[in-house]
């Protein structure tokens, strides 16, 4: 059973985001880290990079392969989690505490269009029932 905190917004591609004023903190979900398996490297974007919602801007490398991660909203990268550089396995240990990227969000209302915990939970339930 995947953990799905109630206070976050989610994408269909298994990213989460939390808005703190005009800043969005994002990462991958528990379902995503479990599906990817042992994370061995996280390729983070350059600070200052502008991204549109849906742009792939992070690559999470697991033993199994490379996994693209997409930005949940449009904005500008302000900070990346450099702790992951030496300890990528933190993403497996707690994918919610160990965020990937902070963004200055162009339009905070964009996040309203994302899934809430209940809707995302339903999606994950369906995927888990399929056994994938």
């Amino acid at each position: 059973m995947s953990k799905i905190p109630g206070d976050l917004r989610y994408t269909k591609d298994h990213e989460w985001i939390r808005l703190e004023g005009g800043t969005g903190v994002m990462g991958i979900t528990d379902y995503a880290q479990h599906a990817m398996g042992d994370v061995v490297y996280v390729e983070l974007p350059d600070v200052g990079r502008k991204v549109a919602a849906g742009d792939d801007f992070v690559v999470v490398e697991s033993v199994k392969g490379a996994n693209d991660v997409f930005s949940p909203v449009s904005g500008t990268v302000t900070e990346v989690n450099e702790e992951l550089d030496g300890a990528p396995e933190l993403v497996n240990q707690d994918p919610y505490a160990n965020w990937l990227v902070k963004l200055k969000v162009d339009d905070p209302s964009e996040a309203d269009g994302l899934l809430d915990a209940a809707a995302y939970g339903k999606l994950v339930e369906e995927l888990e029932a399929e056994g994938s």
């Binding site: 398996g37 042992d38 061995v40 490297y41 390729e43 690559v59 490398e61 697991s62 033993v63 199994k64 392969g65 490379a66 550089d85 056994g131």
Partner: protein, 367 residues
């Protein structure tokens, strides 16, 4: 999709089932994961379901001569009950498949080929079969196979085999054995760089064999191992894989497996003239082993370049090495290839990452 006789066992053990060339097989098991499985084979033992592999028997008065004409290694030098690694080349010196040859006698052999190539190989054999003196049969549909690998493999097998596995030498096999009471062929072979055994039984008794070995493995740290760790283990051990280090165009000399190619054996073999020419003219490409110095994970197909970004070749196998805790890549590059200690650059999504050439294999087990 095709299923092996152990399918239910994999599902019950939490196997994450994937489509592997039309076979539904576990890439990993939920309770462990690729890294844990990989390290467990190196430190203790692992059990692999490799029932998807192809098996072909070859018999007849001309069996030895015929196999020698198709395969790269010295078939005539084999002993009874010996196993030999071979490459089957096409006319231009590329690879049809690589395989293990088991010799019962000069007139009877068992060939073990890659699952994804079984149909192609069988067609190749049929196309080259002489009108008399040799017969062949694809026995894959009735042959299940497991690989028991790792330092504990011998102790585990000893508990359920009707012979002492210590008596079986590396790259030899025993026919007419039983394992867990099941009639079996057992060879001291594998694809992990560890000591270990491969066990062949009747398809219908595959699940029974699986259960017997798993039970014998209790107290020895035995884990079931999926396809993910099978690939990372073989890659670390420097073992080639068709579709990576070998292709229709990329042959065994460039890949660095010339040891298994006997260019001067009597009668020659298909592809011999092309390979001899490659050797005489000087190899145009080579595969070198590298370790990434910059951060990033190299993957198959990524371009390999020099410092100026001029493309020299591509990555044939790449990824994270659990044993070395480093990212490694085998690189197919134009000659002159860089030597040990020199650098290459791998283009990972548009960024050149520095890698240094190291000795192959990446991992060799201690004696």
């Amino acid at each position: 999709m095709k299923r092996t006789p152990m399918y239910e066992r994999h599902v019950a053990a939490g196997g994450r089932m994937v489509d592997y060339g039309g076979w539904e097989l576990p890439v990993q098991y939920e309770s462990s994961g690729i890294k844990t499985e990989h390290l467990n084979v190196r430190s203790k033992a692992g059990l692999f379901d490799v029932s998807h592999m192809g098996e072909v028997t070859v018999e007849g008065a001309r069996a030895e001569e015929w196999l020698s004409s198709l395969l790269s290694n010295d078939i005539a030098a084999m002993h009874d009950n010996q196993v030999q690694y071979n490459i089957m080349c096409n006319e231009s010196g590329g690879v049809v498949d690589d395989l293990l040859v088991y010799r019962y006698s000069r007139t009877k052999y068992l060939l073990v080929v890659n699952a994804a190539n079984t149909d192609k190989d069988v067609a190749w054999f049929r196309a080259h079969l002489p009108s008399d003196g040799v017969s062949m049969e694809d026995i894959s549909p009735r042959t299940a196979e497991v690989a028991l690998q790792g330092p504990e493999a011998e102790a585990i097998l000893k508990k359920i085999a009707d012979f002492d596995p210590a008596s079986l030498k590396f790259f030899y096999f025993r026919d007419g054995a039983t394992v867990g009471g099941i009639p079996a062929i057992v060879s001291r072979t594998g694809y992990t760089g560890e000591d270990g055994f491969e066990i062949y039984v009747d398809w219908k008794r595959g699940a029974e064999l699986w259960d017997a070995v798993m039970k014998a493995g209790e107290g020895h740290g035995l884990l079931p191992i999926g396809l993910g760790a099978r690939d990372s283990l073989r890659f670390e051990a420097g073992l080639p894989l068709y579709g990576h280090e070998y292709t229709d165009d990329m042959g065994p000399l460039e890949a660095g497996y010339g040891f298994f190619v006997k260019l001067d054996k009597p009668g020659g073999f298909i592809g011999r003239d092309a390979l001899k020419r490659q050797k005489d003219d000087g190899l145009k490409h080579r595969i070198v082993a590298t370790r990434l110095e910059d951060k990033g994970v190299p993957r198959q197909g990524m371009p390999v370049a020099d410092e100026a970004g001029r493309v020299l070749g591509h990555v044939t196998s790449g990824g994270y090495s659990p044993t070395l805790d480093a990212n490694i890549a085998s690189c197919y590059v134009a000659t002159p290839a860089p030597s040990e200690g020199e650098s290459l650059w791998i283009d990972i999504r548009g960024k050149l990452k520095r890698a240094v050439v190291i000795k192959r294999p990446y991992y060799a087990r201690g004696k």
